[in-house]
Amino acid sequence: MSAVTFSGCRLVDPASGTDEVTSVTVADGLVTAVGGAREGREVDAAGLVCAPGLVDLHTHLREPGREDAETVASGTAAAAAGGYTAVCAMANTDPVCDHAGVVEQVLRLARDAGHCDVYPVGAITRGLAGDQLAEIGAMAAVGVRCFSDDGLPVRSARVLRRALEYARTWDAIVANHAEEADLTEGAQMNEGELSSLLGLAGWPREAEEIMVARDLVLAAGVGARLHVPHVSTRGAVELVRAAKARDVRVTAEATPQHFALTEDAAAGYDPVYKVNPPLRTAADVAAVREGLADGAIDAIATDHAPHAPEQKAQEWVQAPCGMLGLETALALTLTELVDEVVSLPEAVALLSTRPARSRDISGHGGPVVPGAPANLVLFDPEARWTVDPRALRSRSRNTPFAARLLRGQVVHTLLRGTFTVRDGAVISQ
């Protein structure tokens, strides 16, 4: 493979503590030089930021089972378009990813598509039913590091405790959807002043916070690794922050929708804004931003959740929860957070370095140094673009950010030195 040198880029690599204008040379799938002489073909990257490829801890690729909404190929193409080189695919497929067979199927589909590395998340319990443990060992044997029943909380404290204990064999991570379902029957949106006016049953914040608190207590007792997905309330952020201060082995993520949107978006009953956990209030958004700034929250994750158009074109009460995220997360981070809440290097850490580390994903998240796999994103941090759902690479169109003007656009994405996105266009391998 011939060498390529990206010259004049600002290399932002939290893993090596680098933030400087330099050149990055890539050959044979590896980074071969930083700041070296031009080698091979030169790509003018002046004005672009070069960072380790983004890593998403929470992606729904929908295959197997809902290929009408997304496939591994379309979802990973969307990921590459969004600057990602690694995504963690959630287990709520059909069949459920609760045994090694589905893990291997997803891995094979991802390899065939070649857009992005996929790290399947295994189910905690068989069929996501919440009672019997799935074959965690068999899935760990084929590389699974994290187990989650996705949107279905493990309600039984006994079952979750067993899962945390059992996962210690591999020092694997358990991610439990933080929702005390007893308090959220029929819930449609954040419980508050607006749900009261709209006549929609609310998700009380207590439902999230009770589950986060319970899981933190269990994880602390067992000494196992817990991941808290999509933190959305002030109380939940504070619980995670306090647990970290006590050295509980916990990591947490927040999504762009929970730092960029509030429940006010629900007022018109457009189900594109229906999501679980629900969009909360401005005070919660502020708390999520504080958590991202002070390290209480480790990662920005997308919870990319494609749904076929007819699924979302229903009564709000009937429509499924979920939003697209892979193609807008970087730009939303740059638009909403960078310079106001976090620095650019901190943003890269939240989108790449820390999520990779939190899930033991090596080869992604940097460091961008000679000899490391060339998993990179180059983006223009100043370019403005308007979100057009029809232009997305995902098979679905359910973005809540349609028509929003964002800053920050992906120009190139490289997976082990191969362009998956070049000049803004996804390259089919």
Binding site: G199, Y269, W316, V317
Partner: protein, 305 residues
């Protein structure tokens, strides 16, 4: 006034409400004539699209449209392609293709009426959506209050019962506040809206303390399934604390009226003898419903060629 859709009282200004009430005034005379029909909506098609069982509201809308000479279609969720799994959107597009001018929709899902406006060009009239709004019910209640008490402004209205699940309460509280009435919601905390900060009301749990100063006591139906959901321990306990019997009724000032949107649960929120004693007001609510719906349909459809 330009009334494109009628979805929520929140979309109306004070003058809009007054216009609807004043227009309804003229419509009541029609019911007294031997031929109860005017040709103002001749050639217009109104579809009653009902996804929820309803006797009085559907008949009321049907009569209202027919008295204005509109052609009326009744589509109910049972006995149409709706029961074959057709989506609301596709059903709406079918009605659109058939050229209906207005859709009167009753739906179990909050927000369904508003969503419909995004899919069709027809005018949409909300006949009750989930726990959200039931604007024509509130308007007919205001009309009845004005008819009986001569005014709305300054009236002290106590609304008692299951507020949290009630679309009537949401519409009524907003409409009354818009016209300057004082609204107090009363009931067990489990049946009052959580986070009522944006409701233009006072909240209370003490029915007896309010009765002495009320001009209107408005009772809402308490569904017994709420008891199974543990909103209150028993029907007997509910009736004892928040139900209205003759003894409580005696505390109301002279001239105060008792209202109920129906259907009533005699013996729970309202004792049978109280219901009978105030049957004329409750019947007037039903009669006035037709005039209010005629008024709304006329204001929405009548101005066009």
């Amino acid at each position: 006034m330009n009334l494109t859709h009628l979805l929520s009282i929140h979309d109306l200004a004070r003058d809009d409400v007054t216009t609807i009430l004043d227009t309804a005034e003229g419509m009541t005379d029609l019911a007294l004539r031997p031929i109860k029909k005017v040709p103002v909506l001749r050639g217009r098609t109104v579809c009653n699209l009902f996804y929820e069982d309803s006797t009085r509201t559907r008949i009321s809308f049907e009569l209202a449209a027919k008295r204005l000479s509109a052609d009326v279609l009744n589509v109910s969720a049972k006995g149409s392609s709706v029961s074959k799994g057709e989506s609301l959107k596709d059903t709406a597009l079918t009605l659109q293709a058939m050229g209906v001018d207005a859709i009167v929709i009753r739906h179990w899902a909050s927000g369904a009426a508003r969503q419909l406006t995004g899919w069709v060009d027809a005018k949409v009239l909300n006949a009750g959506d989930g726990s959200h709004q039931h604007p024509t019910q509130a308007l007919l209640d205001l009309f009845t209050m004005r008819q009986r008490l001569g005014r709305i402004e300054g009236l002290r209205v106590v609304v008692c019962g299951d507020i949290v699940h009630s679309r009537v309460a949401r519409s009524l509280a907003q409409a009354l506040a818009l016209l300057g009435a004082e609204v107090t919601l009363v009931g067990p905390p489990t049946l009052l809206p959580p986070h009522p900060e944006r409701w233009p009301v006072t909240i209370s749990h003490d029915l007896d303390g309010l009765l002495g100063k009320a001009d209107v006591l408005y009772l809402l139906r308490v569904q017994s399934e709420r008891m199974r959901e543990q909103h209150f321990p028993s029907v007997r306990e509910y009736a004892r604390i928040w139900g209205v019997d003759a003894q409580r009724l005696a505390r109301l000032p002279e001239g105060a009226i008792v209202m109920h949107p129906g259907p009533m649960n005699r013996g729970i929120e309202i004792a049978a003898d109280v219901a009978d004693l105030h049957a004329d007001v409750i019947a007037a609510q039903v009669t006035n419903g037709i005039a209010i719906r005629m008024s709304c349909l006329y204001l929405m459809l009548g101005g066009e060629a």
